[in-house]
């Protein structure tokens, strides 16, 4: 009940913020911030006080929803979803903070969309009825598309359209796979069911699961994203407002990885095992291609966007290694990338606010006027290319170690991506903060300092004490 309550409160607060902004200007952001902090606390208390262990899925609610298809409203939690929801809370608060100054027009409706997206994302992480999962999967898209299309940069409509069409078409394939599995359940047991736990108990022949798995895989590969279905990401990330990019890179990409773990690998283990060489090849191509493309970009946000493709390639490679070390690595990479890309996109937003450009050629020498900003930028770039001591290093190290035991060739090629990331990381930092000073900019304000330092602190804590996450088994 608590989780349903949280999602409803998010939606309700969004509507309230929309309404109150019309009355009292500037109230929406405070409302959003306070409610997000409160709900995050409620969620934490709920998880801590829950008496069952979260190693396996704990079904919290299960009520009938659409009787015609025996669809249930069913939500559950386990360690994986708890970790990802925690990340969502953190980034949601960051999102409100980065939008503080940036969003001036139609702010009320903006916060409505932001909160609705967050509600949808939480729904994706907790839904265990597949129809419900699909429902949330699509519903979180709508406000996200609105954020890109209304508050985005110059080519926002094109980017929003591309983002939506890519995800929608691929998710229709997933819908077909969901329906097919549901009806296979009907044939096998005599009852139509879309419940994840029922499906886990189902014994499906490999000849069927390889196609079903593919339906799910394509939807999640688009969201992850993996080459060759990645092309929506650079556009969407670049055109979105800062908070949109933070949310996209930080959490939305993780829903793809989450789907891969829960609905591809756990649900169709044999079929995924069979598919692993292809998936791993795609992952390695993503890693190298993402790094190469990032290196060639002139646009700050586009560069970070391509680096995301590279990093999420590590996640996919590690997942398809079927090795517990690699699996741990994948989850840490997910969290670490969530934090580091959010940090870099916030940095891009802060620079954009000062010089109204995302172009690296317009930047340079900012260190002189804004040393604190430069320090953080260096740290975040370091995190992105896997500097030891920060979270990304642990994730990528574990992934590569795990993958090396199973598929050594893939691990070796993937390691090349690390070199690439060092190059684009340095290009990013040098061209913006070093060299001759092109402009003078203001240093970080208190609010921005809070954003940067909290993100940096999280990266540092996980980097120095990874047992924080390694202690969990995540259902393996």
């Amino acid at each position: 009940m608590t989780l349903t309550f949280i999602m409803l409160v998010l939606l309700f607060t969004g509507a309230l913020a929309w309404f109150s902004e019309n009355r009292w200007q500037g109230s929406a952001k405070w409302l959003a911030l306070i409610v997000l902090a409160l709900l995050a606390t409620v969620f934490t208390i709920f998880v801590i006080s829950y008496d069952q262990p979260f190693e396996n899925l704990q079904v919290l609610t299960r009520v009938s929803w659409i009787q015609t298809f025996n669809i249930e409203y069913s939500i559950a939690l386990d360690q994986l979803s708890i970790v990802l929801i925690t990340l969502t809370w953190l980034l949601a608060i960051i999102c409100v903070l980065v939008s503080w100054q940036e969003i001036k027009q139609k702010a009320g409706f903006y916060y409505f969309n932001l909160l609705a997206t967050i509600a949808g994302i939480i729904g994706v992480f907790v839904a265990v009825d597949m129809f419900l999962f699909f429902f949330f999967w699509e519903v979180m898209l709508l406000p996200m598309t609105a954020i890109i299309a209304i508050w985005g940069h110059e080519k926002r409509h094109f980017a929003a359209l591309k983002f939506f069409i890519f995800t929608q078409v691929s998710s229709l394939l997933m819908l077909v796979a969901i329906i097919a599995t549901g009806y296979f359940h009907l044939l096998a047991t005599g009852e139509l069911s879309f419940h994840y736990l029922d499906w886990l108990a189902l014994d499906m022949p490999l000849s069927l699961t390889q196609y079903l798995m593919l339906g799910f895989f394509i939807a999640f590969a688009v969201k992850l994203p993996s080459v060759p279905v990645h092309s929506w990401l650079p556009d969407a990330h670049t055109q979105a407002p800062t908070a949109g990019s933070v949310l996209l890179a930080g959490v939305l990409l993780k829903t793809g990885a989450y789907g891969l773990i829960r609905f591809v690998i756990f649900l169709f283990p044999q079929a995924s095992m069979q598919f692993a060489p292809i998936a791993a090849t795609l992952a390695v191509i993503s890693i190298v291609y993402g790094a190469k493309m990032a290196f060639a970009q002139q646009d700050f946000k586009r560069l970070v966007a391509y680096s995301s493709i590279s990093h999420m390639g590590f996640v996919m490679l590690a997942l398809f290694a079927f090795n517990s070390i690699a699996f741990q690595g994948a989850i840490i990479t997910m969290i670490a990338h969530g934090l580091s890309s959010a940090a870099l996109f916030s940095m891009a937003g802060m620079i954009y606010l000062r010089i109204h450009s995302r172009n690296l050629t317009d930047m340079g020498g900012f260190w002189q006027s804004a040393p604190r900003m430069g320090g953080f930028a260096l740290a975040f770039a370091g995190a992105a290319f896997g500097l030891p001591g920060l979270a990304n290093f642990i994730g990528e190290f574990f992934s590569l170690v795990g993958v090396f035991q199973v598929m050594p060739t893939f691990a070796i090629i993937a390691a090349l991506g690390l070199i690439g990331s060092a190059i684009y990381g340095m290009v990013l930092f040098q061209s913006s903060f070093q060299g001759t000073a092109k402009q003078e900019i203001l240093d970080l304000s208190h609010r921005e300092l809070l954003i940067c330092s909290s993100l940096f602190l999280m990266l540092l804590v996980i980097g120095l004490y990874p047992n924080l996450l390694l202690n969990f088994s995540f259902g393996v």
Binding site: F164, I179, Y183
Partner: protein, 499 residues
Amino acid sequence: MLTTAHSQASLNIDIISVILPQLIIAFGIALALLLVAWKRSQRTIALFTGAVMLIALAANFSLLTIQPTAVTQLLKVDSYSAFAFSLVLISALVSLHMSHQFLKAHIEVHDEYYLLLMLLVLGAGILVTSNHFASLFLGFELLSISLVGLVGYHRESNFSVESGFKYLVLSATASSFMLLGIAFIYSVTGNMSFDANVPNEIYHQQNLRLFFEVGILLFISGIAFKLSIAPFHFWTPDVYQGAPTPVTLLMATISKVAMFVVLVKCVVAQNYLLYDNVQLLLMILAVASMLMGNILALKQQNLKRLIGYSSIAHMGYLLIVVIVLSGESLSFTWQSVLFYLSAYVVANLSIFMVMAAIQSQCSSKVGQLLHYKEELLLSDLRGLFWRIPSHALLVILAVLSLAGIPLTMGFIGKFYILSQATIAHAWWLIVTLVIGSGIGLAYYLPIIFTLFEKEDCTEFKANKRAIIEHVLVYSFIIIGLVLGIFPDVVSQFIVSNPM
């Protein structure tokens, strides 16, 4: 009425109660003629028509759970036809409200418009209950002829004559095709009733079979014309654009619902799908419609044309259900068809309601003459969300429903279709549907984006006095959302018929 005349022997109170809604409409038409003789007033006739339709709707409500009852050879009323007829009546009521807004600005009194509207509803009522090729043809013609009158009604409009003639000529051609097809089918089976058993010899005798199949081909092409299924769709965009908005709404809802229901009835009863060629034909029609409709809609700037093309695609989606139809899951098929049609009708009603509101507001009054705004472009919606959120929300919901995004009825409808196709392993149709909806997004989403664009036209503001309009808008927002999230509310009305 024809049915009563034919069946005086078996006419009793039970049978009357079963076709009561249709009888009420027919009686209403006669009364309306008397009313015209007694008092000619725009307001009176509109109120009268509305009252007749409301009474018919109320009478129809009790039929939703009825057992299949044959009314003579010609008609058969069952819960599905009752449900379809309620959809027809609801669309007619909304269209009536819009028509009144559109017509009351004129000095002339347009009684005949309302008469034609009622005739159209009667035709649809006969179509959805028909169980015989004769009644099918009767309903078909009643529907077509009154639509021809309505399409060309707005005489001052530039496109009225063109679209009226286009519709008249093509509609007549389609009816004659259909009539020839019916004649061919009759020549083989020797019976015009849907319940007639098709003799088995047809399978074996090459000549008979060819005749029969050509008959079906002609028959289906007649229906496909009305449903604007590709390649019989060429009239759709022009006529949609040229007709007055309330009439376009009638074409998009009533005519589609009635024709599709009768198509399903016919295909179910006569087992046409046993013939591979018929299945192949329907498959080609479906694939062509899904692709053509969506691709042609892509660059449209005129809203009505865009809706016209999208209707082609939607009929293509719905045709999938007919293709994969199987004897065992008939009630599921009916449920899918009727649910999808209701989703489609609700979405169209919503979008047309806003279109009509914009048109009537943006029309400028020059002296006594009203300069009616005919062209409704996509850009007319610009910034609507910031000016009138309720209207814009309605458009958003309707467009999302047409695009099949969750939270809306359209998604559940698509879920029904995909379920049907998955059970039948119709993978190619599914692939086409997925591609079609992908292309569809490329024109549906820009509509929504336009709503959010910066406001620069302040022409259209909410009309505070139009209470009915506001009630309608808000109730359709609520209907769209509630039925999209809890589709069981609709499904429970589509009660399955015990065979």
